[in-house]
Amino acid sequence: MRELYEFAVGPMAWAAFGVFLIGSVIRLISMYSLARKKDGPFLSYMSWRFGLRSILNWLIPFNAQGWKENPLVCVTTFVFHLGLILVPLFLLGHVVLWDQYWGFSYPTLPEQAADIFTIAVIVACLVFAWRRATNRTLRFVTTGQDWLVLLIAFLPFLTGFLASQHVGPPLVMTTLHVLSGELMLMAIPFTRLSHMIFGLFSRAYMGSEFGGVRHAKDW
């Protein structure tokens, strides 16, 4: 177990960050050249104003029509993404590692807030799974990858929470946590999780089309 842990925080960590960063850059470049080839003229319609307007409007809870129609999805989605971004970046346990290995640190979430966000993400994953399993329309469009991606996002939070609450042997739980986090990092460029890289661009693209071409709102 000790060897596996050392491997996970050593070579594997380099590999995971490398795959994530390089993979993301490659995906961005290839997506851009694809857009130029297929939809070249439209790129000139890309507008900061309409793009940002759309992004901003989608960032306000219950503002977009889709959010209004489905309050549960709206709340779950916002809470889920907030936790998904805040907890990994601002958790004390993570910043302590930056400090130990790289010698820098920055402000962190209070431990209780981090616990609450973590539980919220775990619950949100369960809500998503429950909807996928029970909602007929959603079940129809759900693929195996949707389940896989949900599991990949769920595991680091579950194992991290258990490790932080000292459930099970710390070394085993922490190893599982690190490995599942690395799995998620590496999955981002190559699965549906890539909306983390593309999300803002595709929103801006939609916003520009609706704002500049159709003269309509896209939220």
Partner: protein, 124 residues
Amino acid sequence: MRRVNVVAAALLLAGLVWALPALSQEDMKTVPNAAFGTPQRSAAVFQHDLHNEKAKLDDCGACHHGDDGGKPDPASPTPGQPCAECHPVDAKGKTPLMRAFHRQCVGCHHDSGKGPLTCGECHT
């Protein structure tokens, strides 16, 4: 009267024997964390003498190093001097207290292939 005195003396003695271990300095079981003000974690488990016996650390300077013109100096040990005296909690451009502990403790456990590595093994 005499018997009462004997009983009183015996009681006093028993009381002393009971209180003595508490009066004498207790062995260190955790690394003191008072310097951090409001610690976020439980104090790290560390039975000083037992630890160093098990880890075969006779050289106090392995941990209690001295200061050689801004460099850590294991050759002039400073046992008993709190790390915080040379490593303040906020030490810009130098090794702050938390990093000093983590690098020293986890660093050696990593290098020697023995001893705890993850948060929950030290901050129980």
